[in-house]
């Protein structure tokens, strides 16, 4: 586990240490719970950005429907917990596997086609899912989704519903995801993905099985999205279709573009910035009497500007972007 020590090198360890202390500090603030909520949301987006980065960053295929797996995870966990009374700890892995399977299925038809077709299928897939959960009222109880139906997870008899508990909950999920993705990135598999993103034909000539490695990326990426969704379901208590619109996929895409496509640090930093900026913009835009949706104008501008002037991300990492 030498490589693990490098990610948890002194600086990363220090950051982690401070992140763990945040709830202690906010306990003394008036708006402490609100701050913790923003932090938890930012961590959730960081987790999602890591997941999207596996496909769009590592293999270089544009995923325009990542929110679909977020939706699958959310509704799978929500249905299992609220309707069948499952424990969260059982629903979470089932949601992840369910998401992963859909990731495989969704990617399958595009394996032999160009990346453009992948982008189209991903887009159509998530929009279709969105329509289904919006229309099939019997499934989830109407366009309003679950209404305060999803129970809090319990651990050793304690219900984890307080903000500081949720904070540690998502922080742990994020760190575990980061470890998995980091290990993958620096493995044979990660190098194969990089080779695919740079030149599919050359990679194939070198003996990389394109279908296998791409499918693996699809499944892992989807499973991470579904884990995010499962967390989100119990975090929000009620989820509804409106959360899973197309723009949410674009927001997550914007995060990894801002930080630098294909790098873990980039995904984390981009998501941390935009995940918390979203909240700030929501408030500041209403001060300026602009509709909250106009924050997407800023996200659009970020996409265009980054591609034009800093395609490798704001950090301009030494690692070449795909």
């Amino acid at each position: 586990m030498i490589s693990m020590s490098s990610i948890l090198s002194s600086r990363s360890g220090l950051i982690l240490f401070f992140l763990c202390l945040v709830p202690l500090a906010t306990a003394y603030l008036d708006q402490g719970d609100y701050l913790l909520r923003i932090c938890s949301t930012a961590y959730l987006y960081m987790l999602l950005a890591l997941g999207l980065n596996v496909v769009t960053g590592f293999t270089g295929l544009l995923d325009l429907g990542y929110v679909g797996f977020y939706l699958i995870g959310g509704y799978t966990a929500g249905l299992l917990m609220a309707r069948l009374g499952w424990s969260y700890w059982a629903a979470l892995p089932v949601a992840a596997i369910h998401g992963g399977l859909w990731g495989l299925l969704r990617g399958a038809p595009t394996l032999r086609l160009t990346g453009d077709y992948f982008a189209i299928v991903t887009f159509g897939f998530s929009e279709l899912l969105f329509r289904i959960v919006k229309n099939e009222e019997w499934l989830i109880g109407g366009p309003n989704g679950f209404v305060n139906d999803i129970p809090a997870p319990t651990l050793f008899g304690y219900e984890l519903w307080q903000y500081w508990q949720q904070y540690y909950h998502i922080l742990i999920l994020l760190i575990l995801t980061l470890l998995v993705v980091y290990r993958l990135h620096n493995s044979r598999i990660g190098r194969a993905w990089q080779a695919i993103s740079q030149d599919e034909e050359a990679a194939q000539t070198m003996g990389i099985n394109l279908h296998e490695y791409k499918s693996l990326a699809f499944a892992i990426s989807a499973a991470i999205g579904a884990i995010g969704g499962a967390f989100f379901a119990q975090f929000q208590v009620n989820i509804s279709a409106g959360v899973f619109e197309f723009w949410e996929s674009i927001l997550i895409l914007c995060m990894i573009v801002l930080g630098g496509i294909g790098t873990l640090k980039g995904a984390l930093i981009g998501a941390a910035i935009l995940g918390s900026l979203g909240e700030v913009l929501r408030i500041s835009l209403s001060w300026m009497r602009l509709p909250a949706d106009s924050r997407y104008l800023i996200f659009g501008a970020i996409l265009v500007m980054m591609m034009r002037f800093r395609p490798a991300g704001i950090l301009r990492s030494t690692q070449k972007s795909p």
Binding site: T56, G60, L62, L64, P109, T110, R112, L113, T114, G115, D116, Y117, A119, I120, V121, F123, G124, F125, E127, L128, R131, I132, K134, N135, E200, E201, F246, W247, I250, L253, V257, I261, L290, P291, D293, S294, Y296, L297, F299, G300, A301, I302, L303, V304, M307, R308, P311, P322
Partner: protein
């Protein structure tokens, strides 16, 4: 039977509109292999520009329509110039992400300027002549507006086909679509050809936007919903194939109206996604494309 006939007619009108938008996607894709997500937004601006010319500048209807078409053509060219051209040699992913960014910017700009609520100004501004209806054989009613949309769509499509197959610029476009490098070696100014492609596609998109504005309402999200459907039509016909886009538009228009009428209106929008995914799974080259699946 009358209802069925009316729905077929409705589908044809919608199909004509989709076809007009879809050729814009497919022409650009054919020339620079870019899914121009901003095209739906240009379509939307076509409607808003007309509304602007009518309401603020007090232009007569014909002049407003003409001005809007020209403005949209210009807009298409400018978007290509400032956003896509600098990325011509960058990875494909960069241009695709830029296109999404431009689309987001334009859609939210429209929302900030004109508000999110649907407007009926264009529908109210159409002349009394267009509001008349005619009974076609079989008993279905058809408004003059719908009739003129069908006729205009056919005329424009035929005109576009002539343009592509007979004129000098059309020949240059076909050359660029086949091989940009070879075309530029033959002395074709590829940037000019790409600009012309954007101008023509955007102008046709603007016409469609004005039609939708007169038939339904104008709102900032119209470009997104109609744009996605039209893009599905382009995929259905075989992306890059202009005749295919026209056929795909008509097929999708009829499928959408029949699906909404006989299956479920809640899934009206979803029909285009379903068709799009089915085509990619079973026949990625589209209805009229060559049967070989392209590889990167």
């Amino acid at each position: 039977m009358t209802l069925f006939l009316e729905q077929i007619v409705n589908g044809l009108v919608l199909g004509g509109i989709y076809a007009l938008i879809a050729v814009g996607y497919t022409m650009v894709y054919g020339v620079i292999q870019l899914i121009n997500f901003a095209h739906g937004e240009i379509f939307m601006f076509g409607a808003y520009f007309t509304f602007l010319c009518l309401a603020v500048l007090k232009f007569p209807l014909w002049l407003a329509v003409l001005a809007s078409i020209l403005l949209c053509a210009l807009m298409g060219v400018v978007i290509d110039l400032i956003a896509y051209r600098p990325l011509r040699n960058a990875p494909r992913l960069s241009a695709l992400i830029t296109a999404i960014g431009i689309s987001l910017i334009l859609q939210n700009l429209a929302r900030m300027i004109w508000g999110a609520e649907p407007r009926r100004d264009l529908a109210n501004a159409k002349s009394a002549f267009l509001s008349q209806t005619v009974i076609i054989p079989g008993g279905a009613q058809l408004s003059y507006l719908d009739l003129s949309i069908i006729i205009l769509a056919i005329l424009l499509m035929v005109g576009l086909n002539r343009l592509i197959s007979l004129t000098r610029i059309g020949k240059a476009m076909r050359a660029c679509a086949q091989d940009k490098m070879a075309a530029s070696l033959m002395g074709i100014d590829t940037n000019r050809v790409i600009g012309a492609t954007f101008a023509i596609g955007s102008a046709l998109g603007a016409v469609a936007g004005i039609m939708v504005g007169m038939r339904e309402t104008i709102e900032p999200t119209m470009g997104y919903y109609k744009g996605v459907a039209a893009f599905a039509a382009a995929v259905l016909g075989g992306i890059g194939n202009i005749t295919g886009a026209m056929l795909g538009g008509v097929v999708l228009g009829i499928a959408e109206v029949l699906g909404a009428g006989y299956i479920s209106s809640g899934y009206r929008v979803a029909i285009s996604y379903i068709l799009m995914i089915l085509v990619i799974v079973f026949r990625p080259a589209g209805l009229l494309g060559r049967a070989s699946a392209k590889r990167a």
